[in-house]
């Protein structure tokens, strides 16, 4: 095994775990109302800004120690992004529950444009950044060179795995999770059994937004910079991850994220980094051609 491969494997796992977190938002929303939430990538972008703002404000008030700073920012980002998710659903999707099939998709595109331009106008078009929070690196010697694993990357992988674990627990073992699963399986039947499905749909949007918030914070910590356009490309890639894993399947989204992240990083490292986005998009098209149900999804059955 050579060094570049291992290094890109680490980079890919870092990136992939974050893709997985964003993909959860796509896959849950798609599973429950059969709609691609185009604004989801921009929710992630908003959360990146919220992270930077949270860090700046908390540092201003004299909070310097890493655990408190990161915990405070995390709670702030997740809560506010969750409110974003709820508001977006309330304004742009809820009134369209009974509309034509195209209407929510176009409305979602509109919402995505609104979020991008709103952030651009209020925060300025320039690139923003956050300081490096976690210094330090672990080095392994491999062959002639060495591979480095920064603490930030380690932190990202651990936190996103914990986030996915918590979500899996919520979906599998709590009342909210049971309601979500019931609504996903059969919305009409669930509402006959006394589940407020409208509210469950709102919860799903909030959960997706919270996961995007976690992803936004982690990516911002890793790259350090972001701009108002950042949500677009990451959004499509996370969707690719969701499709790869099988859309509608929660473990599929996480697995798809990891696979896509690693594949993209290997392509960038071994072939050509200019075309890594092209590679991911082509992968999306290829998956849709050869295995549209993804790795862990069920084939789509049309019902009358």
């Amino acid at each position: 095994m050579d060094g570049i491969f291992l290094q890109q494997l680490i980079n890919g796992l870092t990136l992939g775990s974050v893709y997985g977190l964003i993909a959860i938002g796509y896959t849950m929303v798609y599973g429950i109302i059969g709609m691609i939430n185009f604004a989801h990538g921009d929710v992630y972008m908003v959360s990146a800004y919220l992270t930077a703002i949270g860090l700046a404000v908390l540092t201003f008030f004299g909070l310097e120690s890493f655990p408190f700073l990161i915990l405070g920012t995390l709670i702030f980002t997740i809560v506010v992004t969750g409110v974003y998710g709820w508001t977006i659903e309330r304004i742009a999707y809820k009134p369209l529950r009974n509309s034509t099939r195209l209407a929510p998709l176009i409305s979602a595109i509109g919402m995505s444009l609104i979020l991008q331009n709103y952030v651009q106008v209020s925060q300025g078009a320039r690139q923003q950044g956050v300081p490096t929070l976690l210094e330090g690196v672990i080095k392994f010697h491999v062959g002639t060179g060495y591979v480095q694993l920064t603490y930030t990357k380690l932190f990202i992988i651990i936190v996103s795995l914990v986030g996915m674990g918590v979500l899996t627990y919520i979906i599998q073992n709590t009342k909210l999770g049971r309601m979500c699963r019931a609504t996903q399986q059969d919305r009409k039947m669930a509402s006959i059994l006394g589940i407020n499905t409208d509210r469950v749909i709102s919860y799903v949007f909030v959960i997706g937004a919270c996961m995007a918030a976690l992803a936004g914070m982690l990516i911002t910590m890793n790259y350090g910079t972001f701009d108002f356009y950042a949500g677009f490309i990451i959004g499509i890639k996370a969707f690719t991850a969701a499709v790869l894993g099988g859309i509608g399947s929660l473990p599929g989204a996480m697995l798809g994220g990891l696979i896509l992240g690693v594949a993209e990083a290997q392509f960038a490292g071994l072939v050509n980094s200019d075309f890594k986005d092209v590679f991911s998009f082509s992968l999306l098209v290829l998956i849709l051609i050869f295995r549209p149900q993804g790795l862990m999804g069920k084939p789509h059955v049309a019902k009358v």
Partner: protein, 426 residues
């Protein structure tokens, strides 16, 4: 009924306060705190205005929805909009009066237009073309195509690269760009159209981005972000510049023996473009009467029923997708000719969104609506330069509001009705 007719002010106030709180949480950090490097500035005034607007808006909305008219409106929104209005058989459209007037205007226009007006109108017509193309895909066939700009880029770069490497000019590229774009559409559409419709949206979104990234990164072929020059149009080998650029060519004003007119090239582009738009309008009109056009609309309304009736849904959708793509390729050729120079920054996702906004505003499936909307959305920003910053925001709000208020667009779509011909058994 009488009890529910009274207006509940207390509920309005609760709604208003809740909306204010939510908007404070949503807008607070992003609008109220502006990042400055690793530090920040506070902008409480901006935040207060925005929250105030939201609260006032929510209060008015709450009040309005409790009036009799508001309740009726809310009810009509909840019910599924059946939408399409079917005209009686043999109905003659009002367009047969509008089109001669338009042609007359177009004939007179070049005589009094200046350079600026000409280029604005040409841009408007290019977007009419794009709107018509996308309208076949989204409005008639009900396929959400978010990478329309990719086909537009294929047309424009087809002209640029075709000239640079193969020496092809404006006229040769018009059919070639259409074929090229349609071929790309078939290549992309064929695998994806077999599946559930929403996948198409994201795949085309990815495709549009792939095209832009390739144009940007393949520097040895496309010259990357620096762009490529586009040759001026010619008419039977006559050029429109003051001096002929190629050996053996003569400028048109020398050939005609008139003095040089700097607008000649734009006027020529305008005339050809206008004829093309008219031709596309006619083709689209005929297509909606043909079996394939009616199959598009039927597939949009109920795919399962159509497949049960024996329609090949993939081929029908693919035909709409390819025709739409070829019109975008055509528009790309005109865009490149008008600009004289193109680079990948003209083909971002924003363009796709703008074209989508045009057809959403104009009405999905409506022709007249799209023509008007294309001019409104391309010419209005030229006039309102000071609002340029908020342009995308406006498009976004427009799309969301239109979908909530009138998912079928501003102009009501009507479909032709057909009667059984005399002497033919039903």
């Amino acid at each position: 009924m009488s009890a529910s007719n009274s207006i509940d002010i207390k509920r309005c106030l609760i709604d208003t306060v809740l909306a204010g709180l939510i908007s404070l949480i949503v807008f607070g950090p992003i609008v109220g705190i502006v990042l400055q490097g690793y530090s920040f500035d506070l902008h409480p005034q901006r935040l207060a205005i925005l929250v105030g607007i939201v609260m006032a808006g929510r209060f008015c909305l709450s009040l309005f929805l409790q009036t009799a008219y508001g309740r009726k409106l809310a009810h009509s929104m909840q019910s599924k909009d059946s939408g399409v209005h079917v005209l009686p058989a043999g109905h003659k459209s009002a367009l047969r009066f509008v089109i001669p007037v338009l042609i007359l205007l177009a004939v007179c226009f070049p005589f009094f237009a200046n350079k600026y007006l000409l280029s604005v109108v040409i841009l408007g017509l290019i977007y009419v073309l794009l709107g018509l193309g996308l309208n076949i895909v989204v409005g008639l066939a009900g396929l959400l195509d978010l990478g329309f700009v990719g086909f537009y880029a294929i047309g424009a770069y087809g002209l640029g690269l075709g000239f640079e490497y193969l020496g092809l000019g404006f006229w040769a590229m018009i059919p070639l760009a259409m074929i090229l774009a349609a071929f790309a559409g078939a290549l992309l559409g064929f695998p994806v159209l077999r599946m559930h419709g929403d996948y198409l949206a994201i795949v085309t979104l990815g495709f549009g981005e792939i095209i832009r990234l390739v144009l940007n990164n393949w520097v040895s072929l496309t010259n990357g972000p620096n762009g490529i020059p586009i040759p001026g149009p010619t008419l039977f080998g006559l050029e429109f510049g003051r001096r002929a650029k190629e050996e053996g060519h003569i400028p048109i004003h020398e050939w005609l023996g008139v003095s040089y007119n700097p607008n000649a090239e734009l006027i020529f582009t305008f005339v050809v473009l206008f004829i093309v738009v008219m031709a596309v309008l006619y083709v689209k009109h005929r297509l909606t009467h043909m079996p394939v056009g009616r199959a598009w609309e039927a597939l949009r309304e109920d795919e399962i029923a159509c497949r049960a009736m024996g329609l090949n849904h993939v081929l029908v959708k693919l035909s709409a997708f390819m025709i739409g793509a070829s019109i975008a390729g055509l528009a790309g050729v005109f865009f490149a000719t008008k600009q004289g120079f193109i680079d990948p920054s003209s083909f971002t996702f924003f363009e796709s969104a703008l074209i989508l906004a045009i057809i959403v505003l104009g009405g999905l499936g409506s022709t007249l609506g799209v023509v008007i909307a294309a001019f409104v959305l391309t010419v209005a920003p030229e006039l309102l330069r000071s609002f340029a910053e908020y342009r995308v925001l406006m498009f976004g709000i427009l799309m969301v509001l239109m979908m909530i208020w009138r998912p079928r667009g501003l102009v009501r779509i009507s479909r032709n009705g057909y009667a059984i011909r005399k002497g033919v058994k039903p």
